[in-house]
C-alpha cells in the first residue's frame, strides 16, 4: 500500500507543491486585494509592516527560521507542520525576502505566484525526502515518532474540557450552554469538544455577549 501514488514518498512533493502554490497565491491576494493571506493576524502584520515601508527584516527572519526548523522536524517525525513551514516560511518569509530585494513580479502576478509557490513547495518536499533518506532511512530508529504521536493524541483530549472552561469564563449563559452540550455529547458517546462548542454557540446566540 505504501508504494501506491496516494501513500508513496515520491508523490509527497506533489502535494506540498499544490498546497504551497495556493498559500503563495494567497499572499498575492493579500498584496493586491488586502484579503486572503493564509496566516494569523500577527504574522501577516509583519509582512504588512514591510509593505508599509518599515522594513522586511522581521518577517523574513521569522519566516526563514520557522521554515528551517519545521523542515528538519517534519522529515524526522513524519509530519510536516504546514503552519510554520509553508504558511509562515513560504507564505510570509519568502515573499518578505523577495520584496526586500525589490523582486515584486512573483507576488504581483497571479500565475507567477502559483508557479513560484509550486516550485518552492516541491523543493521543500524533496528536501524532506532527502533528510528522511539520510536519517530515518539509514538507521532502524523512528526517532521517537510513536511517542510524539501518543502525546499529540493525549493533548487532543484536553480540548473538550478546555472549551467548557473558557465558555464558563466568557459568560454564565454561555458556560451553562457549553456544559449541557458537553454532557449530552458525552452520554451520546460523542466527542465532548463538539457538544461544548455547539452548546456555547446556541446559548451565545440567545444571550449575546459584546465583542471587545
Amino acid at each position: 500500500m505504501y508504494k501506491t501514488f496516494w501513500y508513496a514518498d515520491w508523490s509527497f512533493p506533489i502535494f506540498v507543491a499544490l498546497l504551497s502554490s495556493g498559500i503563495f497565491a494567497g499572499t498575492h491576494m493579500y498584496y493586491v486585494y488586502k484579503i486572503g493571506a493564509f496566516n494569523d493576524v500577527a504574522i501577516v502584520a509583519m509582512l504588512e509592516a514591510g509593505i508599509q515601508g518599515a522594513g522586511y527584516g522581521a518577517a523574513a527572519a521569522f519566516g526563514a527560521s520557522f521554515l528551517f526548523a519545521r523542515v528538519l522536524e517534519g522529515a524526522l517525525v513524519g509530519i510536516l507542520d504546514i503552519g510554520g513551514s509553508l504558511q509562515t516560511g513560504l507564505g510570509i518569509g519568502v515573499p518578505a525576502i523577495l520584496l526586500a530585494s525589490g523582486i515584486t513580479a512573483p507576488i504581483e502576478n497571479f500565475i507567477l505566484s502559483l508557479l513560484t509557490g509550486a516550485l518552492l513547495g516541491a523543493l521543500v518536499g524533496y528536501a524532506i525526502l532527502a533528510i528522511r533518506k539520510l536519517t530515518v532511512g539509514q538507521s532502524n530508529s523512528t526517532f521517537g515518532a510513536d511517542i510524539m504521536m501518543g502525546a499529540g493524541n493525549t493533548s487532543g483530549r484536553f480540548l473538550g474540557p478546555l472549551i467548557v472552561l473558557s465558555a464558563a469564563s466568557a459568560s454564565i449563559p454561555i458556560g451553562i450552554g457549553s456544559t449541557i452540550g458537553a454532557a449530552i455529547f458525552y452520554i451520546w458517546k460523542k466527542p465532548v469538544a463538539g457538544g461544548a462548542i455547539l452548546g456555547a454557540m446556541i446559548f451565545g446566540a440567545i444571550f449575546p455577549i459584546s465583542l471587545e
Binding site: 496516494w6 501513500y7 508513496a8 514518498d9 506540498v16 499544490l18 498546497l19 504551497s20 495556493g22 497565491a25 494567497g26 493579500y30 486585494y33 484579503i35 486572503g36 493571506a37 494569523d40 493576524v41 501577516v44 527584516g57 527572519a61 521569522f62 527560521s65 526548523a69 522529515a75 517525525v77 513524519g78 509530519i79 510536516l80 504546514i82 503552519g83 504558511q87 526586500a100 502559483l114 539520510l134 538507521s139 530508529s141 523512528t142 526517532f143 521517537g144 511517542i147 502525546a151 499529540g152 493525549t154 493533548s155 484536553f158 480540548l159 478546555l162 472549551i163 466568557a170 454561555i174 460523542k190 466527542p191 469538544a193 463538539g194 462548542i197 455547539l198 454557540m201 451565545g204 446566540a205
Partner: protein
C-alpha cells in the same frame, strides 16, 4: 470586474490548498511510514472528534467564524483554515452515514477530493464576504474557542509532550528538558524543542552516537542559535542581566536588516 477576478483566483487557490491539505492530513495517520503534513495538533484534534461527523463539523465551524472575523478585520485567514477548518470539514463530509475513519479520514484520495471541494467553498466565501458575520457568533469564537485553543497550545501541549519525553527514557527526558526550556525562552513555545529533544534522545537510544545523530544534534543547536539571534534574544538576554549590549553587536544586527530596539 474585481469581484469576478477574486472569485476565479479563490477557486483555483482553494482547490490547490484543499487537495494538498486533505491528502496531507490523511497521510498523517500513516506516519512515519508515509510522510504526512498538517500538524500534531491537527492530528490530535481530528482524533478528539473521533470520526464523528457532527463533532468534526462543529469544531470546524467554531474556527470558521474566527477565520471569517479575522478575514473581515485584517484580511488574514488565520492558520486555522489549513490546520482545522479544511481537514475537519473534509472529514465531516466523508463521515456521513457512520462510515469508519479507517475508510474515510485515513484515506488520502478521498480526503484530497473532499478537501478540494471544501477548500474552494471556504476560500471563495472568505474572500468574497468581506462583511456580514453575525457579531454574536464572532464573539463566541473570540471569547471561547480562541482562549481554549491558546491554552491547548500553551501550556497544555508543552506539558504533555514534556511528560511524554520524561517517560520515554533518560536521554529523551534530558534533551527534551534542555531544548524544551530553551525553545520556550527563544521561540515562545516549548513544543518544538521538546519534539527535537525526543528525536535526539530516541535516535541515540536506538542507534547510538552515529554520524546521523551527531549531525542532528549539531543542526538543532545551530537552529537554536540562529533563531535566537534573529529574534534579538542575545540583546534581550544582556539587557535583562542589566548589561549594556556592545555597539558592535547592535551594528551586526543592523547589518543583517534587523533593527534591535
Amino acid at each position: 470586474m474585481e469581484m469576478i477576478e477574486v472569485a476565479i483566483k479563490s477557486i483555483i487557490i482553494g482547490a490547490f490548498v484543499g487537495v494538498g491539505v486533505g491528502a496531507g492530513a490523511a497521510r498523517m495517520f500513516h506516519a512515519p511510514k508515509a510522510q504526512g503534513m498538517g500538524a500534531f495538533r491537527t492530528l490530535g484534534e481530528l482524533n478528539a472528534c473521533a470520526g464523528d461527523a457532527a463533532s468534526h463539523f462543529s469544531f470546524g465551524l467554531g474556527f470558521f467564524f474566527n477565520a471569517w472575523a479575522s478575514s473581515v478585520g485584517a484580511g488574514a485567514f488565520t492558520q486555522d483554515v489549513d490546520h482545522r477548518i479544511i481537514p475537519n470539514w473534509a472529514a465531516a463530509v466523508l463521515m456521513r452515514k457512520g462510515k469508519r475513519p479507517e475508510d474515510t479520514l485515513h484515506n488520502p484520495k478521498k480526503m484530497a477530493i473532499s478537501g478540494g471541494i471544501i477548500g474552494i467553498i471556504v476560500v471563495a466565501f472568505l474572500n468574497l464576504t468581506a462583511s456580514a458575520i453575525p457579531e454574536s457568533l464572532q464573539a463566541i469564537a473570540v471569547h471561547v474557542l480562541v482562549p481554549a485553543a491558546n491554552l491547548l497550545i500553551d501550556p497544555i501541549m508543552p506539558v504533555i509532550f514534556w511528560l511524554a519525553a520524561l517517560d520515554a527514557g533518560k536521554r529523551s527526558g534530558f534533551w527534551g528538558t534542555i531544548f524544551g526550556g530553551a525553545a520556550h525562552l527563544i521561540m515562545g513555545n516549548a513544543v518544538p524543542g521538546v519534539v527535537l529533544g525526543i528525536l535526539i534522545g530516541k535516535g541515540v537510544d536506538d542507534s547510538g552516537w552515529t554520524k546521523v545523530t551527531k549531525t542532528l544534534l549539531i543542526s538543532v543547536i545551530v537552529l537554536f542559535i540562529l533563531s535566537a539571534f534573529f529574534r534579538g534574544f542575545d540583546i534581550q538576554l544582556l539587557e535583562s542581566m542589566n548589561m549594556a549590549p556592545p555597539e558592535w553587536l547592535l551594528d551586526f544586527h543592523k547589518l543583517l536588516g534587523l533593527e534591535v530596539k
